[in-house]
Symmetry: C2
Subunit: 341 residues, 2 copies
């Protein structure tokens, strides 16, 4: 790094990682190789195509019944990649030829311990999910992969046309039945009882629908075996969790950091920006105010050009103001959570 370190009594600690030798307390163990673990990296690569939020999947042949799609995923091989980031990027770019901008690990609850049932019976597997954002412009994608609408997997998350009727029609009757079985029963590893979990996850009983609780909903639906209720496509359970975490994280992030712009082309109209935000969050009762919000906060700047053939008056083109990264702490598209509706 830098060899010009000045003399200072305070510099007790140099922090180049090479100097450090770990001594975890529980380390000295005889046959420690038995406790080594397979690490599997999975990514939910999200983009916007024609105002639809889409995710990159390896599609199974549609001929077979009850087939599930797969997210890009691979085993982490330390010999090949220096970091996890590098590894997952190369998987995405290698498998699907898609270039990834924003990349974030999802693991707040994720790195879930799994035991594969396959050949190597004793091996254990740790799964690490990722959220990646891409611009879905390139048509250079192998035939094996497709962009699938996220709401094909999670139709109840699609609030763009208002509250999805399937909630009351399909989900709630069966979820209520599941609650009735044992309303105050505490399921393992959950601090809330069934009735409360349902109320929180789906915003009933006086609660609000929280668009960020995607994972809570998936977990609940899993326990009721309802994950694919009304869904056009299906994912394996653990990839399902990764996508749910990714969508929840993206919804939270879009409010606090300028990540929408990772999904948009360099130049865009304010209406395109709004459509993209709404594709992810749903139409959060903002109309013309949206414009004032994003312009007022200085997130974007006009390029001076306009786009015609919009169906109406030509729209000014805007670009992201990179300077905001240096200015405000939390420069997101500050759209509040939805009302009761």
């Amino acid at each position: 790094m830098h060899d010009d370190a000045r003399n200072s009594s305070a510099e007790v600690l140099t922090s180049s990682a090479e100097d450090w030798r770990p001594e975890p307390s529980d380390f000295a163990e005889p046959d420690s190789t038995r406790d080594q673990i397979d690490v599997e990296l999975t990514a939910a690569v999200i983009a916007i195509r024609q105002d639809q939020p889409v995710v990159l999947v390896k599609a199974r042949p549609t001929t077979s019944e009850s087939a599930t799609d797969e997210l890009p995923s691979a085993r982490f091989r330390p010999a090949l990649h220096a970091t996890l980031d590098e590894a997952i990027r190369s998987v995405i770019e290698g498998e699907a030829g898609t270039e990834v901008g924003f990349l974030e690990q999802l693991s707040s609850d994720c790195p879930r311990f799994l035991m594969p049932m396959g050949s190597s019976g004793s091996a254990r597997r740790l799964s690490i999910g990722h959220l990646a954002l891409a611009r879905a412009d390139g048509a250079t994608m192998p035939a094996s992969h497709v962009w699938a609408s996220i709401y094909d997997y999670f139709p109840w998350e699609d609030w763009r046309s208002g509250r999805p009727p399937m909630l009351e029609q399909d989900l709630f009757p069966r979820l209520s039945a599941w609650v009735s079985e044992n309303p105050t029963g505490m399921d393992p590893h959950h601090p809330l009882c069934r009735r409360e979990r349902l109320a929180v996850a789906f915003g009933i009983d006086g609660g609000r629908w929280d668009d960020e609780r995607v994972l809570d909903r998936i977990e609940l639906l899993s326990e009721c075996r309802l994950v694919s209720m009304g869904a056009l496509r299906a994912l394996s359970p653990d990839h399902c969790r990764v996508l749910a975490m990714a969508l929840g994280r993206l919804r939270a992030k879009i409010r606090n950091r300028p990540v929408v712009f990772e999904l948009l082309p360099p130049e865009f109209t304010l209406f395109e920006l709004q459509k993209s935000v709404e594709a992810i969050l749903g139409p959060h009762l903002h109309k013309q105010n949206f414009r004032r919000l994003v312009e007022g906060t200085g997130l974007v700047e006009a390029t001076g050009e306009v786009r015609t053939h919009t169906g109406g008056r030509p729209a000014k083109l805007f670009r992201f103001r990179r300077e905001v990264l240096l200015e405000r702490p939390a420069p997101g598209v500050r759209i509040r959570p939805a009302r009761t509706s």
Copy 2:
């Protein structure tokens, strides 16, 4: 789970994990055992003691110079623990006899790939950090462990008495020198140049101090070899990262979820609550308004009792209203980031 699954064409996908067999693309590999990995779990257990934010550490003997403390940490041994959560909890409770309430994985940037220099030269190590919250009431702690003030490690993060003078006095001159070496140079794996990174991390050049960017600051100080500048205690570089991530995450979380109460006894005065929040966040220009905020949002309710000997008028005791977990989406102590000061 439930055997009463009703017939439904939509139930293509049952989601019990046992049914699922992974087939990652990059899986079939000859000597795959060489790619198995040691997983190390580390926890920053944070509590409040006498209005000080403290972290649980295994203290090195103070006799030796340049010694570093250690966070509770252990290798993950899948044979012993079914989940990562269970494993890290048992480490904390076993090592230090401290009961942990809130527990969250930190890995958004963390699970950092490390190569230990020790005996087993070929083994690779994946480190997973955690944020744990505890109530520091129990005095039943082994002599090996102590509660150390977080700001002993990160003095520049302590804004309780206003802006720390050490920023201008000690840090900025040397950080500026580091920037001057190569102001617009892009360091590997960073989208910003040095000047920008400094501006963002420390809120200079028109930026604001963002109390959540603890990790950014640590990374910058590490590169300048200034991590222990003015510090009373030191941690190893990777434990340092874990603590930095933990503090940053806690600061973010405390605004959005009712996690402060995990640090407080079941009953408390509003002033104690405020002191606890300020211990973590710094005094964020709120005085009497703090009371109105927390009472107004229904986060707490009066128990009816009072505490005397406060040094003044007796204070009403409050308790956390558990019902808010079911009500609002983001019920945190909504304190805005600090102003310029």
